[in-house]
């Protein structure tokens, strides 16, 4: 994996979590660490990763599908890396610290729970198609 493609990956994964491009510092850290921790990839892992990078709309669905049926997949590992980098950033920590509940927090929990299940089902179908 080249540094250029890791940069693209950092942008895509950062945007997946933040809805905007991550800072340079977080991107550079992702490139460095992803380059260090990535083992040689199996063909199936390469396929999933390539599909996600070429179809950015699918990242969330594949994340959900992998969490459900391939929790140790490389895509999940890299998303987890970006998650950790953002959580360990003073700029984005507010997105990760405990949140005071709003009057609608139960609705929010239910909505996110249902959304997660739907995404997992669709993601699993996409994974079957890719593999």
């Amino acid at each position: 994996m080249t540094n250029l493609s890791l940069h693209q990956e950092a942008n895509l994964f950062g945007k997946y979590f933040l809805k905007k491009l991550p800072g340079e510092r977080e991107k550079n850290l992702y490139v460095k660490l992803a380059g260090e921790i990535t083992p040689p990839l199996e063909l199936t892992e390469q396929r999933i990763l390539r599909f996600a990078l070429n179809n950015k709309w699918s990242i969330g669905l594949l994340d959900a599908g992998c969490a459900f049926i391939r929790p140790q997949s490389e895509l999940r590992r890299r998303l987890h890396l970006m998650f950790a980098i953002l959580e360990c950033s003073s700029e984005y920590n507010d997105l990760f610290l405990p949140k005071q509940r709003s009057p609608f927090f139960l609705l929010i929990l239910i909505f996110n729970g249902v959304a997660a299940i739907v995404k997992a089902l669709v993601g699993s179908l996409i994974l079957k198609y890719i593999l």
Partner: protein
């Protein structure tokens, strides 16, 4: 020639050495002594929330420079350690090789040993427990006081105190609880009678934590950085004692020294070592040797040094399970500063109400360990998991249950020769619980889950990390009144030798579920006294 050699700088080595030094004898400590030279200095003296909000380099100690804090895939014992604590495991693959499909222990060659990652839990053992172990209860009771005055222990008089601080004096007041634990304690009090009837007793744990200043050590400052830093020395670590001993004229510390074996003749003992900088052989001569490299470490050294008969040594390790729980009334509470990472409550299960065969659960909050450590376990996508976990995390409690352990035919260690190993051998471990033990553990954990539900917290999942994960090991050289090889006399002397003592938990014939470190330290103190008195 050295007068006394102590092997290892962990909790037992530090206490044995302090006893020797205070008695005025010349003491040398041999130790590998791996230290964290990378992260400790990076961590600012700020609380967890301030660090999260202001420090740009926080990823270095939360995740690690090489993302070593992001365990992925099948997680081995010890991989949960945070980057500033990872040095605890350094060099162990090389010098302490172990092979097993059933036992996954954690050992350490660090400066301070496993004590560098100790959760600080301090429990006194009851008379019945000490007798079953092979220890003199009256002497142990006095030794608990000695250790308490050395290291500083806080606690409280409550329902749990018969199992924690017992009759110890000089106890510092307990630290304040966070609101998650306060709520649980309130619910316990409301259901106390019913829980007590079923044998459950909850209260504040004894902790080797200062709530008042003690010399250069400062009282606990509620920074909630306990998994990362020891900056104010409020938490006891064995290296604090060794650092103090280094100032004494009758103490010498020799690092980078891995002890392999010993030979004893009528004049002296030869201690055979490897210099860990170049793996060259070294020999030290002494009059008396006190082994305290940890139960498994002592087993290795003794198996290399004496004829071990069948070649098998017994081993004990508390079965351990942890159960994340949710307390719904605490879900969705804003971030709380001034927390602490150590256990804040202990829940004991003493069904027969005799302070024997007691199980112990330590209860922790989850905040300073970061979301990324748990979120990967969620079977949903990371975006929705983040939203959900931010609400849930304030209500999460982790209940870690330790069960008492007795010896069994399928719990043993063997030394296997291996020319590829630096030490020329490898430790092979077998650890299997029998059906009766498994049923008892299962039944007890179900009772724990019922009890915690009664207190308004709901178990999410029961996680058994496997044998060895409790990091409580004992019983490899059990106390024996006969002169059987590979056993210890009641004084801690290795049977068949004149001047070789073992000061760690190797002699314990039974392993109570209560945290054993205080008793290990008390026994190390007594063993050192016995070595001085030639007992």
């Amino acid at each position: 020639m050295h007068e006394y050699i102590v092997v290892g700088s962990g909790c037992t080595g530090a206490m044995a050495a302090q006893t020797l030094v205070e008695a005025g004898v010349k003491t040398t400590m041999l130790d590998v002594g791996v230290e964290d030279k990378k992260y400790a200095l990076l961590i600012p003296d700020k609380d967890f929330i301030s660090i999260r909000k202001t420090e740009q380099d926080q990823y270095r100690y939360f995740m690690g420079d090489s993302a070593e804090g992001l365990a992925w895939g099948k997680v081995k014992t010890g991989e949960h350690l945070t980057p500033p604590r990872k040095h605890i495991l350094k060099l162990t693959d090389r010098y302490l090789p172990i092979h097993s499909d059933t036992f996954f222990p954690m050992e350490s060659l660090s400066y301070g040993g496993l004590g560098c990652g100790w959760g600080l839990g301090c429990c006194t053992f009851s008379k019945a427990e000490n007798e079953e172990i092979g220890l003199d209860h009256i002497k142990m009771t006095k030794a608990y006081e000695v250790i308490s005055s050395r290291i500083g222990i806080c606690g409280a008089i409550d329902d749990a105190s018969p199992y924690t601080i017992g009759q110890m004096g000089n106890i510092l007041k307990a630290p304040k609880m966070d609101r998650n634990h306060e709520q649980l304690m309130k619910n316990y009090s409301a259901n106390k009678n019913s829980l007590n009837t079923k044998g459950f007793y909850m209260g504040r744990p004894g902790l080797a934590l200062l709530t008042e200043d003690k010399g250069e050590r400062k009282k606990y400052a509620y920074r909630d950085m306990d998994f990362y830093s020891d900056s104010d020395l409020s938490a006891y670590r064995p290296w604090i004692t060794v650092n103090e001993l280094k100032k004494k004229p009758n103490f010498r510390y020799i690092g980078n020294c891995f002890v392999l074996s010993f030979t004893e003749n009528t004049e002296y003992i030869e201690v055979h070592c490897l210099d860990t900088l170049n793996n060259q052989a070294q020999i030290f001569k002494c009059k008396k040797l006190i082994l305290s490299p940890g139960t498994l470490g002592s087993a290795r050294i003794v198996l290399r040094s004496v004829n071990a008969g069948s070649g098998k040594l017994p081993v004990l390790c508390n079965p351990y399970t942890y159960i994340p729980c949710i307390q719904p009334s605490m879900v969705g509470k804003a971030v709380e500063s001034g927390k602490m990472g150590f256990a804040q409550l202990s829940l004991f299960h003493d069904e027969k109400k005799i302070n024997f065969d007691v199980a112990m659960a330590s209860i922790y909050s989850y905040q300073s360990l970061m979301l990324f450590r748990i979120i990967k376990e969620a079977p949903i996508n990371l975006i929705d998991a983040r939203v959900i976990m931010r609400y849930l995390v304030s209500g999460i409690l982790i209940m870690g249950i330790h069960h008492p352990e007795t010896k069994g035919p399928d719990k043993y260690l063997e030394r296997i020769k291996n020319i590829d190993s630096l030490t020329g051998d490898i430790l092979k471990a077998t650890y299997l619980l029998d059906a009766e033990e498994r049923i008892k553990i299962e039944s007890r954990e179900k009772k724990y889950m019922k009890a915690i539900r009664k207190m308004g917290a709901y178990p999410i999942k029961r996680i058994n990390p496997g044998n060895g994960s409790s990091i409580h090991y004992a019983g490899t050289l059990p106390f024996s009144d006969s002169q059987t090889p590979c056993t210890l006399s009641r004084s801690g002397r290795l049977n068949g030798t004149q001047n070789i003592y073992v000061a760690d938990g190797s002699g314990f014939r039974y392993l109570p579920a209560k945290g054993l470190t205080l008793s290990l330290m008390a026994n190390a103190h007594l063993t050192a006294l016995n070595a001085i008195k030639n007992e």
